[in-house]
């Protein structure tokens, strides 16, 4: 069978047996799960037995790319990497851009499945059909940058694309990431930790094959339309100038910028650490992911001061705002240094900053004393403490060893600050206070990988435009950020949408936030690229199917309604100051509306049989019945 859009092959590598197999992409998988995240979630549900140890050889680490990657579709450059998460013990999944995904496609693979565990440290070199398992003893312990340099030297080719783990992953930090193009982090949910548990330091990839599309004329036409839409979008220039950091000041102005570990939502030094400041004083050029016509990454250099000579790419809003407002640091250069460390050591910036800021709040409250934290002074914003803790976490040294398990486990181990450990299902909350953006908040509650904005990303609620909510959901409040009404509809709509975006592996900023690729348009593109005949409704159904198979994975691991919640502060304490003052998160009412919309049982949070049948997920019903999960 000839594939259009897709590369057409699945590569499976068993590191225990050193066995490599290449099979055709299953047509059924393609039609029902589209690509990327959809492929990964389905594969994990089918192939992982429930309740396995995420760090055992039984776990599988899966990389997937999407049907548009490698073509000229603007921003189709991303990949998903998934496994059972050692950080949360549920579905682990992370997504990054750069150039790795396209190279993987050109090498001929839609999905790469890593199984088992190597005895010795190794790395993989994939050059089209030639796959080598190479010794990585000399790479072990090296940071992401160094490792990349050595691999390219060893293989004698600078054009190779890599994904690499840092020392943090090797040391067993539970929230270590996987890094592409040095700074493109697939860092959430500890996928790097899983990679390290398999003794796999890196994957280097090089491809020379071509991607053909089913209907080149139509595809070209759609691309021209999309290009025009992107170039004429009001967000084009702000994004190009500042990337996601452009929202730091607006989020602060709207009063939901998590400051000093969510004790406040307005940061007095926001101007000093803003995207504007970064763009004006530090950025020297733009950089972009593969096939992106809205290059939003920026290369910065610090020219003077203590950190003069530091340079790199980015940062994005999350790490920037995490290492400034969240930890109470008003010095942009310190944040840049912290982010550079996090990248090189291979950590998840959001979780690292949550761990540090959590410890700082405990310190302020007197629950942690100086001698509990290796003599560090954990006053808000203390530069030395922030940078030392990053290092200690990555080495699992002293107090860092406790934090290296994530904030949930750290609070349980120390028996303090459980109610202020800002996580859902073990994954740390991002840099947006759920009380100030309730759609986002509901997104954290129900997201299939724990507290996370990228599963739903209901960006449209920040528009505060009632007409939008009225038009899409018949509820004007749905797109007003401080209202609770209509959020169930908003979040399930956006979740389905994000599932499609993640499966096509295009950029969420452009496809979803900027609303360039709604379901109907996605159907058109998919048809032109792959030849699969779909309409907008079919596409949304695929999105819904992905959400439900992920939910099924969680249900199988024991997640129920009681886990769909937020830390107490957001449910009981109103926002203390700023423009969103007084707002609180109305969990029960929003969650019920969401369950209703999803056709999930309101008492248990388990999808109803009828829904699963409608989505052709009969195998989920069978599995549930086999292992004794009651399903109505």
């Amino acid at each position: 069978m000839k594939y259009y859009g897709y590369a057409g092959k699945i590569l499976r590598i068993n590191l225990s047996k050193r066995k490599i197999s290449i099979k055709d992409l299953e047509k059924d998988l393609m039609i029902k799960f589209l690509g990327g995240r959809g492929f990964n979630s389905k594969r994990l549900f089918d192939e992982l037995p429930p309740k396995i140890d995420p760090l055992s050889p039984e776990n599988k680490l899966i990389f997937s790319t999407g049907p548009l990657v490698g073509t000229m579709f603007p921003t189709a450059s991303r990949f998903n990497v998934s496994a059972k998460s050692p950080q949360t013990n549920i579905l682990g999944d992370s997504n990054a851009g750069g150039h790795f995904s396209a190279e993987m496609k050109y090498a001929g693979y839609d999905q790469i499945i890593i199984e088992g565990k190597s005895k010795e440290p190794i790395y993989l070199y994939i050059n089209d059909d030639e796959i080598k398992i190479l010794d990585a003893k000399h790479l072990w312990g090296k940071d992401v940058y160094e490792c990349d340099r050595i691999i390219k030297k060893d293989l004698g080719d600078k054009s190779i694309q890599t994904v690499i783990i840092g020392p943090a992953a090797e040391n067993g930090v539970k929230f270590a990431g996987i890094f592409a193009n040095l700074m493109r982090a697939a860092a959430r949910t500890g996928m790097g930790t899983v990679m390290a548990s398999k003794n796999l330091k890196a994957i280097a990839i090089k491809g020379s094959k071509s991607i053909e599309v089913a209907n080149p004329k139509k595809f070209e036409k759609i691309i021209e339309e999309i290009e025009e839409e992107i170039y004429n979008h009001p967000q084009y220039w702000p994004r190009r100038k500042m990337g996601t950091t452009r929202i730091l000041l607006p989020v602060n102005a709207m009063g939901f910028l998590p400051t000093r570990h969510f004790t406040s939502t307005v940061f007095e030094y926001a101007e000093n650490v803003s995207g504007e400041k970064l763009a004006e004083e530090y950025n020297i050029k733009v950089r972009g992911c593969f096939a992106c016509i809205l290059p939003c990454s920026r290369f910065y250099i610090i020219k003077e001061g203590k950190y003069a000579g530091l340079y790199g790419e980015g940062p994005e809003y999350e790490p920037l705002s995490s290492f400034t407002a969240r930890v109470g640091n008003g010095d942009l250069q310190v944040a840049l240094k912290a982010i550079d460390m996090v990248n090189k050591l291979g950590l998840d910036a959001i979780t690292t900053a949550e761990c540090i800021s959590w410890a700082m709040e405990c310190y302020e409250k007197g629950w942690l004393k100086k001698n509990d934290v290796d003599g560090l002074d954990l006053t808000w914003g203390n530069e030395e403490a922030i940078l030392k803790l990053i290092e200690k976490i990555s080495k699992r040294e002293g107090f860092g060893d406790i934090l290296a398990d994530g904030v949930k486990r750290a609070s349980e181990k120390l028996g303090i600050g459980k109610e202020i450990a800002m996580h859902v299902k073990g994954l740390e909350i991002i840099q947006a206070d759920p009380r100030g953006a309730k759609g986002y908040g509901l997104g954290y509650v129900v997201a299939s990988r724990g507290a996370d904005h990228l599963r739903a990303e209901p960006f449209m609620e920040l528009s505060d435009d009632p007409k939008k909510g009225e038009k899409l959901f018949g509820i004007p409040e749905a797109t007003i950020r401080l209202e609770y009404k209509g959020k169930g509809k908003l979040v399930s709509y956006c979740e389905d949408w994000c599932a499609i975006v993640d499966s096509l592996e295009v950029c969420k900023n452009v496809a979803e936030n900027m609303e360039i690729l709604p379901f109907d348009k996605a159907a058109e593109v998919i048809e032109a690229a792959t030849g699969l005949k779909l309409n907008g409704k079919d596409v949304r159904k695929i999105g819904e199917r992905i959400i439900n198979i992920e939910r099924a994975f969680l249900i199988r691991e024991g997640i129920r309604k009681e886990h769909d919640t937020l830390p107490k502060r957001f449910l009981e304490e109103p926002i203390p100051s700023g423009i969103s003052k007084g707002s609180i998160f109305e969990l029960e009412i929003m969650l019920n509306e969401y369950y209703e919309e999803r056709k999930w049982n309101k008492k248990t949070g388990i999808p109803y049989k009828e829904k699963l049948k409608e989505l052709d997920l009969e195998n989920v019903i069978e599995q549930f019945e086999k292992i004794g999960i009651e399903i109505e």
């Binding site: 150039h99 020379s208 071509s210 992106c292 016509i293």
Partner: protein, 164 residues
């Protein structure tokens, strides 16, 4: 005559040019079939597009033992593939490494300016690839450079140059 000029510091390294090039010339997407290639080093933010500079002394034309390389009546570079003996002296001799190898057919490929209407120039999102007369390119560069030179001076006097 008009040529393609590169303003490398503007390049974002997105490789959209490589994609449109391979799609236009080969009907499929593959940067390794492209006549323009970007050479990148992420650590330093290097993104440098390389393609044929249409030199007046073309080492590829001069070295080709079978005269497969020539400039057509419009002055664009062409390769008569039937004559090519795959000695790759063209690849070896090009000063800029702008003659590439077609990985499927094992023949040399080189930019022919899409016969006078270069697609990469049209599609480049950052304006890093410019199709113009040499003198015009000098002007573009020099006006930009002059703004940079004046920026600090004007700032001191409370003036700000508006970006274009």
């Amino acid at each position: 005559m008009k040529k393609i000029f590169i303003d490398a510091f503007k390049c974002s390294g997105c490789r959209y040019c490589e994609l449109v090039c391979s799609f236009f010339h080969e009907g499929k997407f593959n940067p390794k079939l492209s006549r323009i290639r970007i050479f990148k080093e992420d650590e330093y933010g290097i993104d440098n597009p390389i393609l044929c500079s249409l030199c007046s002394y073309c080492s590829c034309i001069n070295i080709c033992p079978t005269n497969a390389f020539y400039k057509n009546d419009k002055g664009f570079m062409e390769i008569n593939i039937e004559k090519c003996i795959k000695c790759y002296k063209c690849i070896e001799s090009c000063f800029f490494g702008a003659v590439f190898l077609h990985l499927e057919k094992n023949i040399p490929i080189v930019c022919n300016l899409c016969n006078g209407d270069p697609k990469c120039v049209k599609k480049c999102p950052t304006g890093a690839i410019i199709f113009t007369e040499p003198n015009n390119f000098t002007q573009i560069k020099n006006y930009e450079y002059s703004r940079i030179v004046y920026q600090d001076f004007l700032n001191k006097h409370g003036m700000k140059i508006k970006s274009e």
